[in-house]
Symmetry: D3
Subunit: 131 residues, 6 copies
Amino acid sequence: MQKARRKKASPFPPEVLAVFEDIKRTRNVPDVNNFWKYLARNPALLARTWQDVKQVMAPGALDPLLKEMLYVAVSVTNGCGYCIASHTAAAHKAGMTEAMFGELMAVVALANATNRLANGYRVPIDAMFEP
Amino acid sequence: MQKARRKKASPFPPEVLAVFEDIKRTRNVPDVNNFWKYLARNPALLARTWQDVKQVMAPGALDPLLKEMLYVAVSVTNGCGYCIASHTAAAHKAGMTEAMFGELMAVVALANATNRLANGYRVPIDAMFEP
Amino acid sequence: MQKARRKKASPFPPEVLAVFEDIKRTRNVPDVNNFWKYLARNPALLARTWQDVKQVMAPGALDPLLKEMLYVAVSVTNGCGYCIASHTAAAHKAGMTEAMFGELMAVVALANATNRLANGYRVPIDAMFEP
Amino acid sequence: MQKARRKKASPFPPEVLAVFEDIKRTRNVPDVNNFWKYLARNPALLARTWQDVKQVMAPGALDPLLKEMLYVAVSVTNGCGYCIASHTAAAHKAGMTEAMFGELMAVVALANATNRLANGYRVPIDAMFEP
Amino acid sequence: MQKARRKKASPFPPEVLAVFEDIKRTRNVPDVNNFWKYLARNPALLARTWQDVKQVMAPGALDPLLKEMLYVAVSVTNGCGYCIASHTAAAHKAGMTEAMFGELMAVVALANATNRLANGYRVPIDAMFEP
Amino acid sequence: MQKARRKKASPFPPEVLAVFEDIKRTRNVPDVNNFWKYLARNPALLARTWQDVKQVMAPGALDPLLKEMLYVAVSVTNGCGYCIASHTAAAHKAGMTEAMFGELMAVVALANATNRLANGYRVPIDAMFEP
């Protein structure tokens, strides 16, 4: 009873807490970041999103650092403030130096520019690039 | 005169041809791809774009394969058909295997999805992600 | 002078106030939201935008709730913070439950992901989908 | 020769064929559309994408027609040609009439316009729209 | 019967034909372009869209050439193939030279690049840019 | 010690300060805005970006006001908050009136809407718009 007074009941249902536990264990972090807490409003969406993130971001043919850098490139292109902040942090944690970040940004800026040049000049695809 | 009959005059002015030569030499290719031929309508834009591409895509803190994969990630996110075709070809040439491409696509798809979840749930940035 | 003390002169010209009145009457709200107040800097744009919103969002072949949910889907995809906030509120007011919002977000996330998979794999359109 | 006549070797490995079978059974269609055939180059991506599509697009708090219309709204906003073609077909199959499509398009166009007006006028979010 | 041979019945209802006539008269062209013919599937959307285009693109504080160039800038940024083709043609008709197009494209490419640099570096807005 | 009191050591290396000086001289401003200070984390990217901006935004076939308005159109379409704020300020400084801004916004909104109508109705490009 005293304990109950000291400890606020968690606002999250058990299926959400189970996902949170798996995130914390997998990433070895003391708490989940806001993204997961907000998704928790819809437990099925939370669970599915975490399953996808867990599988896709695991080491495979590409290492985790490269994957985080790709994530940053997409998030910067889309202008998603939250994702830029969280995945830039994750990329730095995975080993991205400031110099690497600068080159990543240079490629992202250049690709966004040349994408529009190809659009605007209506460049036809060269035969050698066809499958 | 005879020579003139045998050899069609190039439709490109000298400053354009100089850029084309530098592209061919730098990339060790027999001809430039359509992108550059279309940009040639505006020689100043062509020259500046090539200078940027040459500098940004050169090996540095990131290797060329990683840079090409970042280029693909941006182009796929923006839906630029020409750029997807040309930079996927360039990435394969630089060593990207089919398995690597599959994981690249998985990260790009996932990031495009979670970018929208962060937008839609209006997730505030965690203090730990602030600079 | 006394009058001036009692009643602050409206900063908006009559043609703007007429639009504001129509918005308040149509939506049965005591005041217009910031979007309209900012557009008021350009009265012709304000009037035309309101006419479009009034016609497009009226009940028709689609009911207002579905229309608000489509609005949210577009705004989330584009990452427009103001529009996400205002149209999510409007959708909830029109009857969207938390469970409905969760599924809406799941579809928006999935579509943003698979749009990129179709782009990246350069999938040709099946004959059966052609008009 | 006899062999060739009897059974053409399938180009797809068993784990891909299992996904194809589930798609055909779930949707009651004789063949899968190109999207799945192209994803098959990366079996893990194919399997995960189908699991997500199967779960997200199933009837729930939102009915399948509404979900297909949201899919169209996102795909049109992103300009994904393949997804527009396939999901417009799916929405029509699920009951979308021409009049409904016209109103869907009207909302998508309007939202894309007003998203930019909110951006350009830098409209602050009204207190009543804050959570 | 003879009549039928001589004159094919128009596939468009009268309210659509009235819009087509206004477009042809306003632009002094012998026929409307495909965009309007496709929109005609939904007459209310067609009529409203034409009213907006007619008002917005008319000479005002900005001249028609500048308006067409802005249209091209947006269409190139969004990667809309149809709109790039039709509005580049319209801009050329309104007086855009090749040199002007080259500089337009250079600005569009640069803005798309620096937009991402501002996103990625999370640059805070300077006090002097605040309203 | 006295020196330290009089002159705080600049946090920027000489190659960055040289770029800052050129920006201040070219634009005749007492300080550079935040964009350049943040880019300074990567001096090579800073130098190249400034070279591009300096060349592209200089008067040419298009005047600086028109170029700033194109910049605003792109930034509004992409929803880049920083760029909208800084380039709207620059456009006003270059002579853009409120009425001109209103028409710019009207064109940007309209183009974003009709881009999606062309996408959604899958409008084929008219032969007369082909190069």
